[in-house]
């Protein structure tokens, strides 16, 4: 019997929470979280621009913290929680960050957008009222070649207000 190409040898297996759903996946053991998300789980919302940890386009949240999924082995993710852009919205509604990005021109080509959205979410989860400088700092590892970042800052600030309003309405 001939040996399968290495990529087809899906000998590694993990169970983890992907966007809140218990998920089992088998994959070639050397694969990164980025590759497993895109190639083995069909979650193509997460993008890539270098596969070397330089551009930030592949950021996802691992246990709530932004990581570059091109630098994380999928094998490290067993039992952990991963959030991608596909898991941002709730009940068919966009997350306030998504709404604000859409309305305020924060997504031009949209390629860096998924990573910036989840990175911004991690910021707001930790610090619901960040200053402009804190927003700058938080997304400084995510390169965007289209916008010049300003409309992204504004969108994050708009989302902050919207989230605060929603909380106010609920309580």
């Amino acid at each position: 019997m001939t040996t399968l190409p290495i990529e087809s040898q899906k000998t590694a297996q993990i169970r983890f929470q992907l966007n809140g759903e218990e998920t089992d996946v088998s994959f070639a053991s050397y694969k990164t979280l980025l590759e497993v998300l895109r190639e083995d789980l069909g979650h193509t919302g997460t993008k890539h621009g270098c596969e070397l940890g330089e551009c930030g386009a592949c950021a996802v949240l691992l246990d709530g913290k932004p990581v570059l999924s091109c630098l994380v082995l999928a094998l490290e993710c067993g039992g952990r929680q991963v959030l991608t852009v596909e898991g941002l919205g709730e009940d068919g509604n966009l997350h306030p960050l998504q709404d604000a990005f859409a309305d305020l021109g924060a997504a031009q080509c949209g390629y860096c957008t998924p990573a910036i959205l989840v990175t911004a979410k991690a910021l707001l989860d930790q610090n619901p009222h960040p200053t402009r400088d804190q927003i700058r700092e938080a997304i400084s590892g995510n390169l965007c070649r289209c916008t010049g970042y300003l409309q992204i800052f504004e969108a994050v600030e708009a989302a902050v207000l919207k989230i605060a309003e929603q909380k106010h309405t609920i309580t």
Binding site: T2, T3, P5, I6, E7, S8, R38, E39, G42, T44, G45, T46, K47, H48, G49, C50, E51, L52, E54, C55, A57, T84, V85, E86, L88, G89, G92, N93, L94, Q98, D99, F101, A102, D103, L104, G105, A107, Q108, C109, G110, Y111, C112, T113, P114, L117, R136, E137, I139, S140, N142, L143, C144, R145, C146, T147, G148, Y149, L150, Q151, I152
Partner: protein, 838 residues
């Protein structure tokens, strides 16, 4: 979808109007494709996964210049999991973006011309297998002399990198003279001679180029690709694959950033297409970041010399520009770039006599091509910095000097470009006011400074790449009984918002919402041709085509509704998804009812629109590069802080005014302005495509210094200054609803404004881009030593220029022809235009 309705900027239940004012155009709106982008559902080329899909990898040359003696791919071909290995002989037909530079091969046959030139392709079941098999291909190279820069190219005619071009390693020479420049210099009170250098840089789109090709069930070819120009990919594939173009479908997937870097037909597109046809299974390629650097087609490094004569009051009496352009290893758009480098100098200020000499050489580096501003940012930098020097010597404020000499609307320039609306003066006045220029210029404390610069840019190239009489853009509309409208157009969404431009225009005319429209764009099978997302042409050209198609549809519908309501059709208005009597707005039908009435009356409703630019008055050879239906104008003030110990430049604020004509969607327009400012700032301060030679004991090869994002520095969110954007809106009748371009123009003034601001801050001239701390420190040392406080090139090498084509400007009775080009004068306009096309 409740989430969209809640946040849309157009109130759906706004008070009913009489339908006369604009409701979509000019209103800041969520773009039509925004939801897809913020949910990660925009399908980029690498997001396409198909059953039985195989993967392609390219073996690239490690040598900058070598002859291929032999390729042995047998070990790779028998590697488990490998389906196919292709080499140059499988796809030998030459292609290229310009008809005059068909100098590329999808896989090199007998010669490699830069590190990264592809020589073989492996297609395998898995990407990793394909990658492994590259190591099993044996290539026997004979190393050739490397040519590293244009001066070396001029001095080294042999070996030739290409067997075509002017002579030796000179690809293209241009010499044009509009009026007697020497007479102009004789009339001048002062003559200024300055040399400048603009280093090359690259687009760095975050999306790496990717393509997926299939042989479809009918045996035809379909390819999805991250391209800005599906029409030209279509042409190149038909040529190289020797297939009927009608059997090829090119689908431009939304580009994850283009900036000009995805405007050429690429070798990897041809390779996967060939492989898919041979294997009868889908083939995908996605380039690595390193490979994206090798694709390049970025900003040409340009050495330039400006000689400008001025009167004491600042009036320019003549200008002579020489450029030496580093083209890299292939033609790409280079012939056009060489003309562009000399074309637009005359569009901002009145220059009565102008001479341009341009020389593009081949070098053994990745080919240069069009990057945002194509060919014009480099000379614009030189011109605007020299103007700053002129203002200082004449003791005139640089803003006032420019205001004295700005060109006027509808002028025909010395080189026969007909300008549209020109609101450069208003741009200057606006930035001077909002930046508080008068209180800052030469008045800020040492280490802080402000600089001002201006620019102009085309709103679409006036001539197509392949000369023909057909429109540059076409739009088809389908009106559905549901009240929905579908737009079909070849225009390509690269993030700039071309889909939203089309939807906004159609929605405005028909009185519907942009979200009631479906778009089918960038697909050579589905929509009529649009030439592509380059030269800032889409808003004006596809926009005008959409406007025409929408107006035609409106007419058909209005006739039916007029009959039904028994109202003269001139009185009908289309607004708020209704068609109604403007004299009695309550009397009307819904848009859906209106479409049904029209379909019942006239049959299925579909309309078309198209756009062809007006003819240019420039009839001389080379006059095809630069004419445009109209030009945008920008003025910028940049504030800098320069650390005198480290030379580090910080930019806290930038003010920019842009003459847009009309902002169709102000949210997106602001995004284009700020994005241009950002990219210009990157070019001004840090971005450079540098090369170095490996040590002699290694191969002495010329290699990229920075083929990675980590080393190729671009501004992050921490580097971005505050930007104050002012839009000057005087609708230009040539644009749809008066719109002009915005995607490229606002980048151009940033680099010279930064250099001028550094001079204001610390009194040193950095006549070279990028303006790095190292250069500032060197210039500060010169200043301290009492020498010329400047960093920049000091000489321009000798070039064997041909005799210039002499074209008398309009004010000397010129008719757009060259007087010393007798055979050409006899030709008909059609023949001339054929030769005009770059």
């Amino acid at each position: 979808m409740p989430d969209e309705k809640d946040s849309r900027k157009i109130p759906v239940d706004a008070p009913k109007t009489n339908g006369d004012e604009l409701r979509v155009i000019g209103v800041p709106r969520r773009r039509v494709d925004a939801r897809a982008k913020v949910t990660g559902q925009t399908r980029f080329a690498d997001d396409i996964f198909l059953p039985r899909m195989s993967h392609c990898k390219l073996l690239r040359s490690p040598h900058p210049h070598a002859r291929i003696r032999k390729i042995d791919a047998s070990r790779a071909a028998s590697h488990p999991g490998v389906y196919l290995v292709l080499t140059g002989k499988d796809v030998p037909i030459q292609y290229g973006i310009l008809p005059v530079s068909q100098d590329e091969q999808a896989l090199c046959v007998d010669r490699v011309r830069h590190v990264g030139d592809p020589v073989a392709a492996v297609i395998a079941r898995e990407e990793l297998t394909a990658f492994e098999a590259l190591d099993l291909i044996d290539v026997d190279y004979e190393i050739l002399t490397t040519i590293s820069d244009p001066e070396e190219a001029l001095a080294t005619p042999e070996p030739r990198i290409h067997e075509y071009g002017e002579e030796g390693n000179i690809h293209k020479l241009v010499a044009l003279e509009f009026g007697n420049v020497e007479e102009g210099f004789a009339e001048a009170d002062e003559i200024f001679e300055d040399t400048f250098f603009f280093q090359g840089n690259t687009h760095l789109p975050i999306e790496q180029h990717a393509s997926v090709a299939i042989k479809d069930p009918e045996g035809k070819l379909t390819i999805w690709s991250s391209t800005q120009t599906p029409h030209y990919v279509h042409r190149a594939l038909a040529k190289v694959l020797e297939m009927p173009a009608a059997h090829i479908r090119v689908i431009a997937t939304p580009n994850g950033g283009g900036f000009g870097g995805k405007s050429d037909p690429f070798n990897h597109e041809i390779v996967v297409a060939k492989a898919a046809l041979m294997l009868d299974r889908p083939v995908k390629i996605c380039l690595t970041r390193e490979e994206v650097f090798y694709c390049h087609r970025g900003r040409h490094p340009v050495l330039m010399k400006f000689k400008t004569g001025v009167k004491k009051d600042g009036a320019i009496t003549g200008m002579h520009l020489q450029t030496l352009i580093d083209g890299g290893a292939y033609g790409s758009y280079g012939v056009a770039s060489t003309f562009y480098a000399g074309a637009l100098q005359t569009t901002t200020y009145h220059i009565p006599r102008y001479r341009y000499q341009g020389c593009r050489t081949f070098t053994n580096k990745p080919p240069c091509g069009p990057k945002r501003g194509h060919g014009t940012p480099q000379p614009r930098f030189g011109q605007e910095v020299q103007l700053d020097k002129i203002a200082e010597r004449l003791k005139i404020d640089p803003a006032d000097l420019r205001l004295r000499i700005v060109e006027s609307s509808n002028a025909v320039t010395a080189n026969f470009f007909r300008l549209g609306t020109v609101n450069l003066a208003e741009c200057i006045r606006r930035v001077v006011k909002v930046s508080d220029w008068k209180a800052k210029f030469r008045k800020l404390p040492e280490g802080r400074g402000v600089g001002l610069a201006c620019s102009a840019y085309l709103t679409g190239a006036g001539l197509p790449i392949y000369w023909n009489k057909m429109p540059h853009s076409g739009v088809q509309l389908k009106f559905d009984r549901s009240g929905g409208v579908s737009i079909f157009c070849g225009a390509t969404e690269i993030g700039q918002g071309s889909d939203d431009v089309l939807a906004g225009i159609v929605a405005e005319v028909l009185g519907i919402d942009t979200f009631d429209i479906r778009l089918f764009t960038g697909d050579t099978d589905l929509g009529p041709v649009d030439l592509g997302s380059y030269s800032s042409r889409v808003t004006l050209m596809a926009g005008n085509a959409a406007l025409q198609a929408a107006e035609r549809g409106k007419t058909i519908i209005a006739e039916a509704v007029a009959e039904k309501l028994e109202v003269p059709k001139e009185r009908l208005r289309f607004a708020d998804k209704r068609v109604f009597d403007s004299a009695a707005p309550e009397k009307g039908v819904t848009f859906q009812e209106a479409v049904c009435l029209a379909e019942a009356r006239s049959g299925t409703i579909g309309t078309v629109g198209s756009y062809t630019p007006p003819k240019s008055p420039a009839l001389y050879k080379g006059g095809g590069v630069g004419p445009s239906p109209t030009y945008s104008y920008s003025a910028a003030v940049v504030e800098v802080e320069v650390n005198p110990v480290t030379g580090w430049v910080t930019v806290p604020k930038i003010w920019i005014a842009h003459d847009i004509g009309r902002a169709l969607n102000p949210t997106l327009v602001r995004g284009q302005v700020e994005g241009s400012v950002y990219m210009g700032l990157g070019e001004a301060l840090m971005e450079e495509q540098e090369f170095r030679r490996l040590p002699k004991k290694l191969s002495h090869a010329l290699v990229h210094k920075f083929p990675s994002i980590l080393e190729y520095k671009s501004p992050t969110s921490l580097d971005m200054p505050e930007v104050f954007t002012e839009l000057i809106e005087e609708p230009d009748p040539r644009g749809p609803f008066g719109a002009k371009e915005v995607g490229q123009g606002p980048l151009l003034p940033i680099m010279p404004a930064v250099a001028n601001a550094v001079y204001d801050a610390v009194g040193v001239r950095i006549d070279e881009i990028p303006v790095t701390p190292e250069k500032i420190m060197k210039a500060l040392a010169e200043k301290k030593a009492g020498r010329d406080p400047r960093y920049g090139p000091t000489h321009f090498p000798h070039v064997n220029w041909p005799e210039a084509l002499r074209v008398p400007p309009p004010w000397e009775g010129g008719d757009g022809n060259a007087v010393n080009d007798a055979p050409r004068r006899q030709k008909s306009r059609q023949e001339k235009e054929k030769a005009l096309a770059p």
